[in-house]
């Protein structure tokens, strides 16, 4: 696949963020992923993936001062950018087109 498309894990992280309302920090993303995929997720993997996607311009982060009151720590929230939305749509379209009409083939294997 061309470089522009998302890696699988990154895709899943973006989808999780989307599910969480388009903006989240790493902990709920981890929990969401584990809930939806049923597998244990390495938090570091999520963390690094989110950072990397920020470098690519797919996420935008901000420091949340409010969280200090709750937990005494500042959290960094990551938000989906329009580019991310476009990328998700593209990837989805690509997959759908590839899946078109071959579900039957899957049964035969």
């Amino acid at each position: 696949m061309p470089r522009d498309t998302l890696g699988e894990f990154e895709h899943m992280v973006l989808l999780s963020i989307l599910r969480l309302g388009g903006e989240a920090y790493s902990v709920p993303v981890v929990l969401e992923l584990e809930a939806r995929t049923g597998r244990e997720v390495a938090q570091a993997a999520v963390f690094i993936a989110m950072k990397r996607m920020e470098n690519k311009g797919l996420l935008k982060s901000r420091m949340d001062e409010e969280s200090v009151k709750e937990t005494g720590r500042v959290r960094r929230y990551f938000k989906l950018t329009p580019a991310a939305a476009a990328k998700l749509r593209d990837t989805r379209q690509a997959l759908e087109r590839l899946w078109e009409g071959i579900e039957a083939q899957l049964e035969k294997i």
């Binding site: 902990v27 981890v30 929990l31 390495a42 938090q43 950072k51």
Partner: protein, 882 residues
């Protein structure tokens, strides 16, 4: 494993991100804990660690660290500035520490750079002439004495030499330079035309002398020095050709020398061609001769030729000069120019080096102490992921910053120091025009800065407590490996400081004692009442002796009528160091054997009024009589002379001698008719060789020394303007120069010893201060480290005074060890100062003992505070800290 994980996270993600990661991991852990209980949570955590490690490593190695992109969001600028921000911040938190280190470093580096600039310009760098190694000075030499050549000598050399590319001669005298606005005494050089090409000096304006201008009787022209030209003619090239009036004669200016002419012509204002008539006798000896060795000529060959020529012409002059031992010697010109300042400069350089060592030891000690104080900060930093290399780099950066700041300050101080040296030191330091912040000097300064950095910056970095995180984090973590090591090193530093300060203090003390000894020497005249001036009556060069005497008498009458003047007299020569010339002689009853040197003493022209004005009395015999009675065959001497050659003043009366190297029955004999009180004319140093006084009325000169005595209680300075006015009333073209009170005359003679004493004394003071600070700091540190021990000791029934003595003893052991080494060093080193000292030996016990005593006393005082504090530790408090 936790630590390693943190470090790797910090490396891959950056500090802040790593912290965030672990925070969020903790949050998840708590979540797990709530949901599944502790066992499951712990297992989860272990799994997470493994996975985190794997992901971090994979990310870090495969795609490089992500943190760069993250940091670029914050716009930090070039990497090295970011690297400096941390050290700068931590230094800014300790202004006193930074100030003291930067300040002392600046002093140390600035001081040694200044001294080196002088050493380099004067001793190390070659003379600023082309092929300076070929230049030599030729002088007469006999049994260890050297003096200039005579006209006969020089002309013979010029005519007969074959080994030199060229030779030239130079003489100085003082002459009156008059303009419409006044007159002044200037230094006038007379040179042979060959001098300029010999030295490679090209005129900046106009031309230099032509060969025909040195013939006696040829019209005289002048070449001016650059400084004089700028001052008097405004440096205006269109004024070339205008005359200067020298001793009443108008001399056209044909050329101007450039600003940089090298030491031989440096202080020349007016230069005239040397016109010597073929001489009738050997003397007088007034020419400085320079030569440039021919291509490939060995100095020995040239030297041998000179000796040969000398022997060849000896028979021609035997009548007026029978000294067969005297020959001509060649000295490398640079050696002559530099003279005896070499020893002085090296001594000062050594002292400055010691001070720099002390400054570095001081800085190292402070730095070590500071590191120990920052244990917690450094440990936290290590826990957050800083590697040992990071910490060392940070410490080095701090030291480096301090050294950079100190060096910049030092350069500034050096600039100031050089300016002071060249302005104040010009009268007695040769080649001051070449002293400056030149390339080699700047390089030296850099080398000193690097050395300082190595000496005090690297030392602490060797054992930065980066790895011992747990130790640093422990509350009140006082003891332990690195702190003890720090203590030992600081002790060594203090011992070093005391060792180094001894030679500096002793050296300073010796020079101070020497200066004080000199200052106490009785110069033999009433310094408090005397005002001396050099007076030149330019219009009277052609008057007869009688007319000159009359003119002077009139002038003296005028001056004596000024209220406040007790007496005024005229002569040539001023005490304590200004004589007219030295002349050799043979006393009738003390003949000089074959191969022996004739004795010589300074000669001064004087009169009864002159002696009265100075305040010297006759102790035996009689004063000069009225002119008619005495042929010029009588002299007065002083007590020192009488004691040197005879048993005392009475014994010297009536003795006769023959002077000027004259031999044979036809030589005129001179009689000693009186003896004055001892008086000095050859400076205050050493023993007084004696003085001979001639009657100034037998050889009057339009250029003489006027001595005025103020009435009791009056300050001679106040008389100066009145005397000057009186002189100008008598002769409006008279030049008055070198006006000085008796005290000023003495002070001028003592200039060099005073400067040396002040300079090395202040080095000594600085060393003392640094040593005291050093021992105080170390003892304070020791007491704080061992607070618990002291408290326990007292709690268990120990006497507080015992603790006090314990601390004191510990401190003094360091001091005494340092003093021991220092004494040895002082003993070995001060012997090189011998030539700088007067009336005191380099190993003078009093000075050594005083230096040691002062050091011990201040050390005890410095230790007292911490010792007292140690003995007052409340045991309960200390035990409670456990």
């Amino acid at each position: 494993m936790n630590i390693w994980l943190q470090r790797i996270a910090a490396w891959v993600l950056g500090q802040d991100e790593a912290r965030a990661l672990f925070n969020e991991m903790e949050e998840l852990y708590r979540h797990r804990l709530e949901k599944e209980g502790e066992a499951a949570a712990s297992r989860w955590q272990r799994r997470q660690y493994r996975k985190t490690l794997r992901h971090l490593l994979v990310s870090g190695l495969r795609r490089g660290s992500i943190k760069d992109s993250a940091d670029s969001r914050r716009n930090t600028g070039p990497a090295w500035i970011a690297g400096l921000r941390l050290p700068l911040r931590s230094l800014a938190r300790a202004p006193v520490y930074v100030g003291s280190i930067v300040g002392t470093l600046a002093l140390g580096i600035g001081g040694i750079t200044t001294v080196f600039s002088v050493v380099h310009a004067v001793l190390l760098s070659p003379l600023p002439y082309p092929e300076p190694g070929e230049l030599v000075q030729i002088s007469t030499s006999s049994r260890g004495n050297q003096w200039p050549l005579s006209a006969a000598d020089y002309l013979a050399i010029e005519e007969q030499q074959t080994r030199f590319e060229g030779v030239a001669a130079m003489a100085w005298t003082r002459a009156t330079y008059s303009t419409d606005s006044g007159s002044d005494r200037m230094l006038v050089h007379s040179v042979t035309p060959g001098l300029f090409p010999l030295l490679g000096v090209q005129p900046a304006e106009g031309r230099v002398f032509l060969e025909e201008e040195r013939k006696p009787g040829a019209p005289v022209v002048a070449v001016l020095g650059w400084g004089f030209w700028s001052r008097e003619f405004g440096g205006d090239p269109s004024r070339l050709g205008e005359p200067v009036r020298v001793d009443g004669v108008e001399v056209p200016v044909v050329g101007v020398l450039p600003a940089r002419v090298g030491p031989s012509l440096e202080d020349a204002d007016i230069i005239l061609p040397l016109q010597v008539a073929p001489p009738q006798r050997k003397g007088p000896f007034f020419l400085e001769a320079l030569g440039r060795l021919g291509e490939g000529v060995a100095p020995e060959a040239a030297s041998a030729e000179l000796r040969a020529i000398n022997e060849r012409i000896f028979p021609l002059w035997k009548d007026s000069w029978p000294d067969q031992e005297a020959t001509w010697a060649m000295t490398d010109l640079k050696t002559r120019v530099v003279g005896d300042v070499g020893t002085t400069l090296v001594v000062i350089l050594g002292a400055a080096a010691f001070v720099l060592i002390m400054v570095c030891a001081n800085a190292a000690s402070l730095l070590l102490a500071r590191i120990v104080d920052r244990r917690r900060e450094l440990a936290v930093r290590a826990a957050l992921g800083a590697s040992r290399e990071n910490l060392v780099a940070q410490l080095l950066a701090e030291s480096g910053l301090l050294v950079v700041l100190g060096s910049l300050g030092g350069l500034g101080l050096a600039g100031l120091g050089i300016h002071l040296t060249t302005t104040l030191g010009a009268p007695f330091l040769p080649r001051t025009s070449e002293v400056g912040l030149t390339g080699p000097v700047l390089f030296f300064s850099l080398a000193m800065a690097v050395t300082s950095l190595v000496l005090f910056g690297l030392l602490p970095a060797l054992r930065a407590p980066g790895a011992r995180v747990s130790e640093g984090l422990r509350e009140g973590g006082a003891r332990g490996g690195s702190s003890a090591w720090t203590g030992r090193v600081r002790n060594l530093l203090v011992t070093t400081q005391f060792a180094v300060s001894v030679p500096v203090l002793v050296g300073g003390g010796l020079l101070v004692a020497s200066f004080l000894t000199l200052a106490r020497v009785d110069a033999g005249f009433d310094a408090d009442r005397v005002l001396a001036l050099d007076v030149s009556l330019p219009g009277d060069a052609d008057l007869s002796n009688q007319e000159l005497n009359h003119t002077w008498d009139q002038l003296l009458q005028e001056i004596r009528s000024i209220p406040g003047v007790a007496q005024a007299g005229v002569g040539q020569g001023r005490p304590p160091g200004d004589y007219l010339f030295t002349n050799n002689f043979v006393l009738e009853d003390q003949p000089v054997g074959e191969g022996e040197t004739q004795p010589s003493v300074p000669w001064v022209f004087a009169s009864e009024a002159y002696f009265e004005a100075l305040g010297t009395r006759l102790v035996a015999g009689r004063m000069f009589g009225p002119m008619a009675d005495d042929a010029p065959g009588v002299v007065l001497v002083d007590e020192a002379f009488a004691r040197r050659f005879y048993s005392g003043p009475e014994d010297a009366l009536g003795r006769r001698f023959v002077s000027g190297g004259c031999t044979g029955e036809a030589c005129p004999r001179t009689t000693i008719i009186g003896v004055m009180e001892e008086i000095r004319y050859m400076g205050l140093e050493g023993s007084n060789p004696g003085v001979m006084f001639l009657d100034s009325r037998t050889f009057p000169s339009p250029n003489s020394s006027l001595v005025v005595r103020a009435q009791g209680g009056m300050d001679p300075t106040t008389l100066a303007p009145l005397v000057r006015d009186a002189i100008w009333q008598t002769d409006s073209h008279a030049a008055v120069a070198r006006v000085a009170t008796g005290q000023q005359l003495l002070s001028q003679t003592l200039r060099v010893p005073r400067y040396l004493a002040a300079l090395l004394g202040s080095f000594g003071g600085l060393s003392l201060l640094l040593a005291v600070l050093g021992i105080y700091g170390v003892m304070d540190y020791f007491v704080r480290q061992h607070r618990r021990d002291m408290g326990i000791r007292i709690a268990l029934g120990g006497e507080p005074s015992h603790v006090l003595r314990l601390v004191l003893r510990r401190g003094m052991v360091l001091v005494v060890m340092g003093l021991g080494v220092g004494l040895l060093a002082a003993f070995l080193l001060t012997r090189f100062m011998g030539s700088l000292l007067h009336g005191i030996e380099p190993t003078d016990a009093r000075v050594l003992l005083s230096a040691i005593t002062v050091l011990v006393l201040v050390a005890v005082l410095a230790c007292w505070g911490p010792a007292l504090r140690a003995s007052n530790v409340p045991p309960r408090e200390v035990l409670a800290e456990e």
